[in-house]
C-alpha cells in the first residue's frame, strides 16, 4: 500500500507541475497550449537520453532549457498571428512530438521506449530506500517551482500578464511589450512542463510514447479551471482533488460489484466532468481567486473599501 501511496504522490506532483505551468501560460497570460503532453514528453525524453551521460541534474536543466527554447520558438512563430492560432500550432506540436518519438528509434527507442533511466541521488540511496528519496525529491521540486511561480504571479510581471490576457491592445497602448511578455510566459511554462516530464521519467525509470497521451493536457486544463485561473494555490488544490477523485474512484469497483473495469474507467472520467461542470456553476472563479494587490497594502490606514 505504501508503494501505491508513493505512486499517488508522484502522480499528483507531476500533475501539479504541469498544471502550474499551464496556469502561468493560460491562466495568467491567456495563451492556450493544447500541446502540453508534447512538452512533458520532450522533458521526459530529454532526461532519459542525457542523464546516463551527464548526470541527473544537468539532464534536468537541459530538459527545462530545451522545452523553454522550443516554447519560445513556437510562441514567436504563432503569437505573431491571430491569438487562436497558438492553440492550433500547439496541437500540431503535440502530434509532431508523439510521431517523432515513435519513429526516430535510433534516439528514442521507438515504441519500445527507453529503460534504466538513472534516478536522482541513486549513488547515495540505500538499497530499498528508493521510494523515500524520489518522494522527497518530487515534493521538493513542486515546492521550489511553486515558490518561484508564486513570486512571479504576485509581482508586477504577473500583473502585466493579466493585463495582456484581459486586453492586449490596451497593454501595448500602455507601453507594454506584449509579444516579449507572451514569449517569456510561454517559455517559463514550457520549462516547468519539461521538469514535470523529467520527474515522470525519473520515477518510472522507463518511458515510452504511450505514456504521453493528450489526456495529460486535458487533466492540466481541468486542474486550472477547477483551481481558479491565475491562482497557484488553487491549482495545487485543483490538481490534487482531480487526481484524488481519479484514484479514489478506482475503489468504486469494490463497493459496486456489478460494474466492470471498462465501465468504471468511463464512469470515472464522466464523474470528473460532472464535477467540473458543477464547480463552474457554483463557483465560476474556481476554488481560489486570483491574487490581487490591494491599496491597503500600501496605505494601511486608508479607508478604501474592499
Amino acid at each position: 500500500m505504501s508503494a501505491y501511496l508513493v505512486t499517488l504522490v508522484i502522480l499528483v506532483s507531476v500533475a501539479a507541475l504541469v498544471g502550474l505551468a499551464l496556469n502561468l501560460q493560460w491562466g495568467l497570460a491567456g495563451l492556450v497550449n493544447f500541446g502540453v503532453s508534447g512538452f512533458v514528453a520532450l522533458g521526459a525524453y530529454g532526461v532519459a537520453i542525457t542523464a546516463p551521460h551527464i548526470g541527473w541534474l544537468p539532464a534536468m536543466i537541459f530538459s527545462a532549457l530545451l522545452c523553454a527554447a522550443i516554447s519560445m520558438a513556437l510562441a514567436l512563430l504563432s503569437i505573431r498571428l491571430e491569438e487562436n492560432y497558438l492553440a492550433i500550432v500547439t496541437i500540431g506540436f503535440g502530434e509532431i512530438v508523439r510521431i517523432l518519438l515513435l519513429n526516430e528509434g535510433w534516439l528514442t527507442g521507438g515504441a519500445l521506449g527507453i529503460a534504466d533511466i538513472p534516478r536522482p541521488f541513486a549513488a547515495i540511496t540505500p538499497p530499498g530506500g528508493g521510494d523515500g528519496v524520489i518522494l522527497a525529491f518530487a515534493i521538493a521540486l513542486v515546492a521550489l517551482v511553486f515558490v518561484l511561480l508564486e513570486l512571479l504571479v504576485r509581482s508586477p510581471f504577473g500583473r502585466v500578464l493579466r493585463a495582456v490576457r484581459d486586453d492586449a491592445t490596451v497593454a501595448s497602448a500602455l507601453g507594454k511589450p506584449v509579444l516579449a511578455l507572451r514569449v517569456r510566459a510561454f517559455a517559463v511554462g514550457g520549462a516547468v512542463m519539461g521538469l514535470a516530464g523529467a520527474l515522470h521519467a525519473f520515477y518510472l525509470t522507463y518511458i515510452d510514447p504511450s505514456q504521453f497521451t493528450p489526456i495529460i493536457t486535458a487533466y492540466a486544463f481541468m486542474a486550472v479551471i477547477a483551481g481558479g485561473r491565475g491562482s497557484n494555490l488553487g491549482l495545487l488544490l485543483g490538481a490534487g482533488s482531480i487526481m484524488a477523485l481519479l484514484e479514489a474512484t478506482r475503489f468504486l469497483k469494490d463497493l459496486v460489484p456489478s460494474i466492470d473495469g471498462a465501465q468504471l474507467s468511463a464512469l470515472r472520467l464522466g464523474m470528473i466532468g460532472i464535477g467540473i461542470v458543477l464547480l463552474l456553476i457554483l463557483r465560476p472563479q474556481g476554488l481560489v481567486a486570483e491574487p490581487r494587490r490591494r491599496a491597503t497594502e500600501f496605505f494601511p490606514n486608508a479607508k478604501g473599501e474592499g
Binding site: 518561484l148 513570486l151 512571479l152 509581482s155 508586477p156 510581471f157 504577473g158 500583473r159 502585466v160 493579466r162 493585463a163 490576457r165 484581459d166 486586453d167 491592445t169 490596451v170 497593454a171 501595448s172 497602448a173 500602455l174 507601453g175 507594454k176 511589450p177 506584449v178 511578455l181 517569456r184 517559463v188 491565475g230 486570483e290 490581487r292 494587490r293 490591494r294 491599496a295 491597503t296 500600501f298 496605505f299 486608508a302 479607508k303 478604501g304 473599501e305 474592499g306
Partner: protein, 255 residues
C-alpha cells in the same frame, strides 16, 4: 511648420476598399487642446490608431517633436509619450482600479522576468513610489474610495476617468482621447472638462476626438474637421462650426 509638436502629412489607410484616411494632413500644437471632429466615418479613430501604432499607415508620415515616428509599434509610441484612451472604454477587467494604475508606469523592474524574482526589494520600493502617485491621481479624479473595486464594476464615466488617470501615470507629453464624453453622465462630463483644463494648465497637450460639441467648444483651442479621410477645415471652434463646408459635411447637403 517644422516646429510643430505632432505633424501628420499625407496619411493613407484603407480598410478593404474603403479609404479611412485619404491623404490626411494636420498638426497638433504643444500645450494646446486640439479637437478632431467630423461626421461618422471621417477617419478620426483611424487617425488616432495610426498615431498610436495600432494601425499602420500605407503612405504619409507622422512626426512627433521633430522625429519621424511613422508606423512605430504601439508600445514604442507610448514610450515616446504619446498615450491614448479608447472610444469604447477598455478597462482591464480582472484588475482592480488600483492595479489598473499600478500597471501603467514605465520601466518597472518587477515586470522583467528576472527582476520580478531576484530584485524584489527594488521593485517593491518602485511599487511604493507608484502607489503614492496612483493614490494622488485617484483622489484627483474622485475614484480613490473605489481603489480596491474590480474595474469592471465602474460606471461608463468612471471608466473614462480611470483611463485618463492610468494614462497620466505614463507621464505623457501628448494625450489622445477618443470620445471622452461618449456614454458619460452630464456631471461626470463636466468633471472630465475640468480635468482636461487643469492638465492643460499644467502643460499637457491634448488631441481629442469628440462628437459632443459642448465639450469640444469648452476645451479645444483649435479644431480640425475631418471628412472622408482628409482635413476639411482647420481653425478655432467658432470658425470651424460656422464654415459652410463643415455644415455640408455633417448634413450632407451636397449629396
Amino acid at each position: 511648420m517644422s516646429g510643430a509638436f505632432l505633424e501628420v502629412s499625407g496619411l493613407v489607410k484603407h480598410y478593404g476598399g474603403v479609404a479611412a484616411l485619404d491623404g490626411c494632413s494636420l498638426s497638433l500644437r504643444k500645450g494646446e487642446v486640439t479637437g478632431l471632429i467630423g461626421p461618422n466615418g471621417a477617419g478620426k479613430t483611424t487617425l488616432l490608431n495610426a498615431l498610436t501604432g495600432l494601425a499602420k499607415p500605407e503612405a504619409g508620415t507622422v512626426s512627433f517633436m521633430g522625429a519621424d515616428v511613422t508606423g512605430l509599434p504601439a508600445h514604442r509610441m507610448a514610450a515616446l509619450g504619446v498615450v491614448r484612451s479608447f472610444q469604447i472604454v477598455r478597462e482591464l477587467s480582472s484588475l482592480t482600479v488600483f492595479e489598473n494604475l499600478l500597471l501603467a508606469p514605465p520601466h518597472q523592474i518587477g515586470e522583467r522576468l528576472l527582476g520580478a524574482v531576484i530584485s524584489r526589494r527594488k521593485w517593491w520600493a518602485q511599487e511604493h513610489v507608484n502607489a503614492a502617485k496612483a493614490r494622488t491621481l485617484l483622489e484627483r479624479v474622485g475614484l480613490w474610495k473605489l481603489a480596491d473595486q474590480s474595474s469592471a464594476a465602474l460606471s461608463g464615466g468612471q471608466k473614462k476617468l480611470l483611463e485618463v488617470a492610468r494614462a497620466l501615470l505614463l507621464e505623457p507629453r501628448l494625450l489622445l482621447l477618443d470620445e471622452p464624453g461618449a456614454g458619460v453622465s452630464p456631471p461626470l462630463r463636466e468633471e472630465i472638462i475640468r480635468l482636461v483644463r487643469e492638465l492643460k494648465a499644467e502643460g499637457l497637450s491634448f488631441g481629442i476626438v469628440e462628437h459632443d460639441m459642448h465639450l469640444v467648444g469648452e476645451v479645444c483651442d483649435h479644431v480640425h474637421v475631418l471628412a472622408e479621410g482628409r482635413t476639411l477645415v482647420s481653425g478655432s471652434f467658432a470658425e470651424a462650426t460656422s464654415d459652410p463646408r463643415v455644415v455640408e459635411a455633417y448634413l450632407g447637403l451636397a449629396a
